[in-house]
C-alpha cells in the first residue's frame, strides 16, 4: 500500500505548489471565470445565428411559389421550420448573444472581479446549449410548435419535446440574466452609484428584468400546453392531435411588445460605443438611462399572452405599440447629439460604429412598423407585417450584438477583429435587415397572410415576397461575412492594446486579454459614468 503514497517531502511540495493549469475542454466544462462562460454563450450563439440564417433563406425560398417549390416536403414541415426560425432567431440567437456579451463585459464595466453566482452562470450557459439542441433535434424529428395538418403519435411526442426544450432555453436565459443583473446591482465598485453605471450594463439590467418578468409567463404557457397535450384533454390545442393553436398560445413572445425586449440592449451597446467614437462624454447619461428604462417598461409583454383571450385589440396594446417608438427615437437623438457635440474623426466609420448606429436605426424601424401595425384600420395584424416587425427586431439585436462584440473583442476574445471585414459585414447585414423588414411590411399592406403557405393575391405582394427572399440572402451573406471575420481573427490574430479605442469605462482599464480576477489592482473610486475620462485623484491633490 505504501507504494501509492508520495514521500513526505514530495507531498509537502505538491500541496504548496499552485494547481496545474488545465486548458481546453476541461475549462469549458468547469470554469468559474465569467469571460470563459460568456464565450460559451457567444460561440454557440454564433453557430445558432448561422443555422437560423440558413433556415430563414430556405423559408423565404419556399414562400416564392407554394405549389412549385417543396423545400421541406409538406405543409407541416414548412410550418415547423417557419416557427423554428421565429423562436430560434429570438430565443436562441438574439438574446443569448447579448447574455454572452454581458456575461463577459458587465462585471468588468462595474469593476467586479467576477460575475455574481459564476457556477449558476455556467449551468445557464450549458443549459442553453442543451435546451437549444433538444429543441432543434425535436423539430427535425417531426416536432415543432403544433401542426397545420395533423400529426402522428411520434410527432405529437416530438412536439411536447419541442415545448420542453424551448422551456429549458427560457429557464437558462433567466438564470444567466439573473447572474448579470445581480452583478450590476450588487457588485459595483466603490463610488459607482446606480446613476454612474455604464449604459450597456444598465441596459442589460433593464432588459434582464423584463426577461425575468416575461419569460416565466411563457414557461407557464408551456406547462399548460404540455399538460393539455399529455393528458389528451384537448382543451385548446386540439390534443391528442396538436394544431396551430399550440403556436398561437406562445406567439405573443415573438410579437410586440414582448419581442422588443430582445433589442433593448441595443440602446446600451450604442450608448457605450458612440461616446467613445465621438471622443466625448454622453450628452446626458441620466436621460439615456431613463429612456432605456422606458423602452424596457414598454417591452413588458406577459400581459398580452392569449390564454384568457386576445388582448391585441385593447387600448393598452395599442398604447404600448405606439409609445414604444418614443424612447427609441429619443435615444437615437441623444446619441446623435453626443456625436455632434464630440470630436468624431471624419472618414470611414469603424465597424462597431456601423453596428451600433445601424442596430438603433433598425430598432427604430421596428418600433415604427409596430406602431403602424397596431392601428386597427390598417388591418395589419395576421399579415406578413408580423414577420416584418419580428425580423427588424431580430436583425437589430443581431447587428447590435455583433457591433458590441467587435468593440469589446479585445476583452471577449483577447484580439481585434478585422475592421474592414466587419464594416462590410455589418453594412450588408444592415441592408439585409432593411430589405427584409420593409418588404414584409409592404406585403402586409396588401394583406399577404403570415402563417399559411399561400401566394399573395396581389402582384405587389408577390414582388415583395421575392424581395424578401433577396433580403434574407443578404442577411445570410452579412452573417457569413461577420462570422468569417471572427474565425479569421483566430487564424491570424491581430495585436490588440489594452485600450485600442480610448474607452471610457472600467473594462478598458484591464489588460488584453483580461487576467483572472480582471483587475491587477482594485479600480480607483469611481466619480462619474466615464471613470477613465476623469482626472486621477493625484491630479487634484488626492481624493476627498
Amino acid at each position: 500500500m505504501t507504494m501509492t503514497e508520495s514521500p513526505p517531502s514530495e507531498a509537502a511540495e505538491s500541496s504548496a505548489a499552485p494547481l496545474p493549469a488545465v486548458g481546453g475542454l476541461y475549462d469549458w466544462l468547469t470554469t468559474s471565470d465569467h469571460k470563459a462562460i460568456g464565450r460559451i454563450w457567444l460561440r454557440f450563439g454564433a453557430l445558432s445565428l448561422l443555422f437560423f440564417s440558413v433556415i430563414g433563406v430556405l423559408i423565404s425560398f419556399e414562400r416564392l411559389d407554394a405549389d412549385a417549390i417543396d423545400v421541406f416536403g409538406g405543409v407541416n414541415s414548412y410550418f415547423q421550420m417557419w416557427s423554428l426560425y421565429r423562436f430560434g432567431i429570438v430565443l436562441m440567437v438574439a438574446i443569448p448573444l447579448f447574455v454572452g456579451l454581458a456575461t463577459v463585459i458587465t462585471p468588468m464595466q462595474v469593476g467586479s472581479t467576477n460575475i455574481a453566482f459564476p457556477r449558476a452562470a455556467l449551468a445557464a450557459a450549458w443549459g442553453y446549449v442543451l435546451g437549444s439542441l433538444i429543441t432543434v433535434i425535436s423539430v427535425l424529428s417531426g416536432g415543432g410548435w403544433g401542426a397545420l395538418d395533423g400529426v402522428s403519435g411520434d410527432e405529437a411526442d416530438a412536439i411536447r419535446l419541442t415545448l420542453l426544450g424551448t422551456g429549458m432555453v427560457m429557464v437558462s436565459i433567466i438564470l444567466g440574466t439573473i447572474c448579470v443583473a445581480t452583478t450590476v446591482v450588487s457588485l459595483r465598485t466603490s463610488g459607482m452609484g446606480l446613476t454612474k453605471v455604464p449604459l450597456f450594463a444598465w441596459s442589460m439590467l433593464v432588459a434582464g428584468s423584463v426577461w425575468v418578468l416575461t419569460l416565466p409567463v411563457a414557461i407557464a404557457n408551456i406547462a399548460i400546453l404540455y399538460i393539455d397535450l399529455s393528458g389528451g384533454a384537448g382543451l385548446f390545442v386540439g390534443a391528442p392531435n396538436p394544431s396551430f393553436d399550440v403556436y398561437a398560445q406562445l406567439a405573443w413572445i415573438l410579437d410586440q411588445p414582448a419581442v422588443y425586449a430582445a433589442a433593448v440592449p441595443v440602446l446600451g451597446v450604442a450608448g457605450s460605443i458612440i461616446p467613445v467614437v465621438a471622443k466625448g462624454r454622453q450628452v446626458s447619461h441620466e436621460a439615456m438611462m431613463i429612456l432605456i428604462g422606458l423602452a424596457g417598461l414598454l417591452a413588458i409583454g406577459g400581459w398580452s399572452q392569449p390564454f384568457f383571450g386576445d388582448e391585441r385589440d385593447t387600448l393598452v396594446y395599442i398604447a404600448f405599440g405606439v409609445a414604444a417608438l418614443v424612447p427609441v427615437l429619443a435615444s437615437l437623438g441623444g446619441n446623435g447629439a453626443t456625436l455632434v457635440a464630440g470630436e468624431a474623426p471624419v472618414g470611414i466609420p469603424p465597424a462597431h460604429m456601423v453596428g451600433a448606429l445601424g442596430s438603433m436605426l433598425l430598432f427604430l424601424a421596428a418600433t415604427a412598423a409596430g406602431a403602424l401595425r397596431v392601428i386597427d384600420p390598417l388591418d395589419l395584424i395576421g399579415t406578413t407585417a408580423d414577420t416584418g416587425v419580428l425580423n427588424l427586431v431580430a436583425v437589430a439585436a443581431i447587428l447590435g450584438a455583433l457591433g458590441g462584440w467587435w468593440f469589446w473583442a479585445p476583452k471577449t476574445d483577447g484580439r481585434l477583429f478585422s475592421g474592414i471585414q466587419g464594416l462590410g459585414a455589418m453594412t450588408v447585414l444592415l441592408l439585409g435587415g432593411v430589405l427584409l423588414g420593409a418588404t414584409d411590411m409592404i406585403a402586409g399592406f396588401v394583406d399577404t397572410p403570415d402563417v399559411l403557405l399561400a401566394s399573395a393575391d396581389d402582384s405587389l405582394g408577390d414582388a415583395m415576397i421575392v424581395l424578401s427572399m433577396v433580403g434574407s440572402i443578404v442577411v445570410l451573406l452579412g452573417v457569413l461575412g461577420a462570422l468569417g471575420a471572427i474565425a479569421l481573427a483566430y487564424v491570424k490574430p491581430g495585436e490588440a492594446d489594452d485600450d485600442p479605442w480610448g474607452g471610457h469605462t472600467l473594462e478598458w482599464a484591464t489588460a488584453t486579454p483580461p487576467p483572472a480576477g480582471n483587475f491587477a489592482e482594485p479600480p480607483a473610486r469611481v466619480r462619474s459614468e466615464a471613470p477613465l475620462l476623469d482626472e486621477t485623484p493625484g491630479d487634484e491633490g488626492g481624493e476627498s
Binding site: S15, P20, V22, G24, Y26, D27, L29, T30, T31, S32, S112, T113, N114, A116, P118, R119, A120, L122, A123, W126, G127, V129, L130, G131, I134, D157, A158, R160, L161, L164, G165, G167, M168, V171, S172, V185, S186, L187, R188, T189, S190, G191, M192, G193, L194, T195, L213, Y226, L297, I300, W303, E311, T314, L315, V316, G517, P522, R525
Partner: protein
C-alpha cells in the same frame, strides 16, 4: 438615510399606484375597487390596471431591496458595517457540477416525453448536484485559504463520493457490457469479454508504469474506453439480444401453463 435608488423606485411606486387608481376609475372602476385591488368593487379594465399595479408592486420591492443594500454602494456598506472596505467577491473554484446539473435538467426534460426512467435519472442527478453544489459553495467560504477549503470539502464529501461514483461507474459499465455480451454470439461474447478485460488491464499496467503521466492523457484514455463501452451497450441494446436456443416447445408450453394457472389462481 434614503438612497438615490430608493428614492427613484419609491417615486415610481407612488406614480404607478396613482396611475393605476386613476386608470381604474376612468375605465369603469366601481366603489372603492381601484384602491382596494378589487376587494370592494370593480377595478375597470383589468389588463391596464394589472400592468400599473404590478409595476407599482415591483418598484416597491426594488425600493425595499435597494435601500437594504444601500444602493449596493460598497462605500455606504462599509460605513454601515464599520469596516474599511468591503471584501471583493470570493474566488469560486471550477466545478463539473454546473454542467452535470445542466445535463440532469436535460435528462428530466427528455424523460417527460421519453419515459419515467429517464426523468428519475435526471431527478437523481439534479438532487446529487444540489448537494454537491451546496457543499462546494460552503467550502469556498470556509476559510481564506483555497487549498484548505478544498481539503476540508474533500474530507467531508470524498467518503460519500468515491463509493457512490465507483458503484455507479461499475453498474453502468456492467450494464453496458452485459448488453454487448447478450447481443454478440457465444464466441463473440467471450472475445468481447476478453478484449474489455485486456484493455482495462492494459490501462492499469500503463498507469502503474507511468504514474506521472499527464492527467489529460489518463482522463482521455479512460473516457474513450468508457464512452466506447457505453455506446456499444446502447447500440446493442437497441439492436436487441441474440436468439437464444430453448429446449423445444416444452419451455414455451411450461410458461404458458404457468401463466394460465397463475391467472386462474388470481381470479
Amino acid at each position: 438615510m434614503f438612497t438615490t435608488g430608493f428614492k427613484f423606485f419609491f417615486g415610481l411606486t407612488i406614480a404607478l399606484t396613482i396611475g393605476a387608481v386613476a386608470y381604474g376609475y376612468s375605465t369603469g372602476g366601481e366603489h372603492v375597487g381601484p384602491v382596494t385591488l378589487g376587494w370592494k368593487g370593480g377595478v375597470g379594465d383589468h389588463v391596464g390596471y394589472l400592468v400599473l399595479i404590478g409595476g407599482a408592486f415591483a418598484s416597491a420591492c426594488f425600493a425595499g431591496i435597494i435601500v437594504a443594500f444601500r444602493d449596493a454602494d460598497p462605500a455606504a456598506q462599509s460605513h454601515y458595517m464599520g469596516v474599511e472596505a468591503i471584501a471583493p467577491t470570493t474566488p469560486v473554484t471550477g466545478s463539473f457540477w454546473p454542467v452535470i446539473g445542466a445535463f440532469g435538467g436535460a435528462a428530466m426534460v427528455l424523460g417527460l416525453v421519453l419515459g419515467s426512467a429517464v426523468f428519475v435519472l435526471g431527478l437523481v442527478i439534479c438532487s446529487l448536484v444540489a448537494i454537491e453544489w451546496t457543499m462546494d459553495a460552503w467550502a469556498d467560504r470556509a476559510t481564506g485559504d483555497a487549498e484548505a477549503n478544498k481539503a476540508l470539502r474533500d474530507r467531508i464529501m470524498a467518503p460519500f463520493e468515491i463509493p457512490v461514483a465507483g458503484a455507479l461507474g461499475v453498474a453502468v459499465m456492467a450494464l453496458a457490457a452485459s448488453r454487448i455480451f447478450l447481443n454478440a454470439t457465444k464466441l463473440g461474447a467471450v472475445v468481447w469479454a476478453g478484449l474489455i478485460a485486456v484493455i482495462i488491464f492494459g490501462l492499469g499496467i500503463l498507469y502503474a508504469a507511468r504514474p506521472k503521466m499527464n492527467k489529460n492523457v489518463i482522463a482521455g484514455l479512460v473516457l474513450a474506453v468508457g464512452v466506447a463501452v457505453i455506446a456499444g451497450g446502447i447500440v446493442t441494446a437497441v439492436d436487441g439480444q441474440r436468439d437464444f436456443e430453448h429446449h423445444g416447445d416444452d419451455h414455451g408450453e411450461e410458461h404458458g401453463e404457468d401463466h394460465s394457472e397463475e391467472g386462474e389462481a388470481s381470479e
